[in-house]
């Protein structure tokens, strides 16, 4: 068993410190032997350039919101895990002119400046990205922001943050996105909620006073498919993020449980599982927009569940009980059905519990969770399809961690974590291993990260 542990950069003072501690106190050699599989916390020794945000300047009425916008942008850039963000300096120290030698002395490689003024009902924000080393403006943009009480205000600021990430790295950001998930209320019911990628603006979506499961975003971010027990048996519906019901999947296979919807990248085909219909279970697809075209992909006496499409729509990864009770495995098959191959490291007659796959938007990685050590803990795992499979990376090392979902940047995963202090939504950066808590202390589950959300 090959184990590589690379300590993350020491200047990830808080988060990486926690991670590194847990890595060193938990001997990975105690984990189960998985033939042909390398299992361990492997993070690249990534260099992150330092980035500073100069306090945003407000002119012509823009001073009212300058610090609020600056705070959102600063946090988004920190959450991108592409930079080592230097804490803001007091206005008095920096003034309104860019002082490259000062930022250079502070170690900054990038500097973001912003200027806001009132424009019509909203604002105009001018952002500049400075290359401190070369003492020049690398990129500049002017962005319209709606008024502060507009529903799209925060998301508009997040879009600017993603633009700054793209300027500096060429990679897509994920700030302009939301996460849908389930949360258990005091009455024991489960409803769907959404929260912004930065952990703000928590909103309830469904209000069925029932069990609601498996929220999943449509590829354009305008709809959320769910499985609801509101009629007593689970059925699949589409709602918008305000909970308005848009469509209902008919019981096209007769009686049975209809669960775990997943959108095809075409946006109208939904893959889902049916259990217990004429003693037959399986994964089916149905075109919700055309209201037609039921297709049977896999199944029979076994149970296939939790389908997830590859971004090109040609493949489906899913969870299956076809090897029997207690040994669920992750498999993949062609999107139109056909022979499936096992992605998780199952050996016939052996054990192993792997579940809840999610295919990365970059197409190369599939994340899922697995029972790793003998104490029955669940951890987030990632398998790289380009490696021919079989090499698992373990991304968490503490508590229980389930149901990962990829961010649109293909780099972050949100998952349901359980720690000694309770349950919460957590985000891990697959590249650096940095971990942050998105929403703590609630009984949350089954998060699904939206695509980048276009202006409304």
């Amino acid at each position: 068993m090959r184990i590589r542990i690379i300590e993350t950069w020491s200047w990830f003072v808080v988060l990486a410190g926690v991670l590194a501690t847990s890595v060193s106190t938990q001997p990975l050699a105690a984990q189960d032997e998985l033939p042909g599989v390398s299992l361990g916390l492997v993070y690249a020794n990534t260099y992150l350039p330092a980035l500073a945000v100069q306090p945003f300047v407000g002119g012509f009425g823009g001073d009212m919101i300058a610090s609020r916008v600056e705070a959102i942008v600063g946090r988004d850039l920190r959450n991108s895990d592409q930079f080592e963000v230097i804490d803001s300096l007091p206005d008095a120290m920096v003034g309104s002119q860019v002082d490259y030698p000062l930022w250079d002395r502070l170690g900054a490689v990038w500097l973001v400046t912003g200027e806001i003024e009132v424009s019509g009902d909203g604002y105009m924000l001018t952002i500049e990205l400075h290359d401190v080393v070369y003492r020049e403006v690398r990129d500049r943009g002017r962005f319209r922001l709606p008024s502060q009480d507009d529903d799209d205000f925060r998301m508009s600021v997040h879009r600017i943050s993603d633009e700054i990430v793209r300027w500096a790295t060429g990679a897509p950001g994920m700030a302009a996105s939301r996460i849908a998930f389930t949360m258990v209320g005091n009455d024991g019911n489960k409803e769907v909620y959404v929260i912004d990628s930065d952990g703000e603006d928590l909103r309830q979506v469904t209000d069925y006073n029932s069990l609601t499961e498996s929220p999943t975003w449509s590829p354009d971010g305008s709809r959320i498919a769910i499985a609801s027990y509101k009629t007593g048996v689970p059925r699949i519906y589409e709602v918008d993020r305000f909970g308005n019901e848009l469509s209902a999947l008919p019981a096209v296979r007769g009686a049975g449980d209809y669960v775990t919807p997943a959108y095809h990248p075409d946006g109208s085909t939904i893959a889902f599982s049916v259990f217990g219909s004429n003693s037959q279970s399986g994964i089916f697809t149905y075109d919700l927009a055309q209201n037609c075209c039921l297709s049977f992909l896999s199944g029979g006496p076994w149970y296939d569940v939790s389908p997830t499409y590859s971004p090109d729509g040609r493949w489906l990864a899913f969870n299956t009980l076809r090897f029997g009770d207690a040994v669920p495995q992750v498999m993949m098959m062609p999107a139109e059905g056909g022979s499936a191959e096992t992605l998780s490291p199952y050996e016939y007659g052996g054990g192993g519990f792997y579940a809840a796959p999610d295919w990365s938007p970059n197409g190369d990685l599939v994340a899922f969770h697995g029972r790793i050590d003998r104490r029955g803990r669940y951890h987030i795992l990632v398998i790289n399809l380009d490696d021919g499979g079989r090499v698992l990376r373990q991304l968490t090392s503490e508590g229980n961690n389930e149901a990962p979902s990829w961010a649109p940047d293909g780099r972050h995963l949100v998952f349901a974590g359980e720690r000694s202090w309770g349950f919460g939504l957590m985000v891990v950066d697959v590249t650096t291993g940095r971990l942050r808590s998105l929403l703590g202390g609630r009984r949350v589950d089954l998060p699904d990260w939206s695509p980048v959300l276009p202006p409304t």
């Binding site: 499961e213 048996v233 217990g276 569940v305 009980l321 579940a355 669940y378």
Partner: protein
Amino acid sequence: MIVRRFFITVFAATLLVGACGGDPPPPPPPPQADQDSLQRYNDSVAAAEAERRAEAERLAAERAAEAERQRAVRAARASLEEMVFFDYDMSDIRDDAEATLRAKVDILRASPQVQVRIEGHADERGSTEYNMALGNRRAEAIRQFLVGFGLAENRFEIVSFGEGRPLQQGSTESDWARNRRGQFVITAGADAINPSN
């Protein structure tokens, strides 16, 4: 004492003499016919009384039988609704569950109108979506067990609640053991439950 008894005797004799003093009145005719009707009357009263008593006894017995039947129906219903439990991550019918399910088979055979929804549940561990599959496998295992005794499959519908409806809220081994279960809801024929034998 003797003196006193003497006086009483004399006094009684005096009364007797006085009574026999005049012509004796003719004795009333013997009520022959009336004697019969009285007898019949008395007999009929007795018969009615007996009948009433028998009726009351019959009613009491009937009430007792009905109460007994109701009790048996309640017991049968409780037996139909009795939960069964599963081992961790498994959908096999355990031995103790087999006995519970056999009792249901007998009642369901005697009560052809009764239909049942079988609900499968899982404990909180593992994957939430996998647990929905596991709950359905448990419900299906129960249905197949019952159908294996010749009961019609269409008398049972199944539904999985996964880990969503725990019986107990805690996270101990004993909470989990209670939450890994099959539950039974009578969906039709609840007033036509016949206790077996």
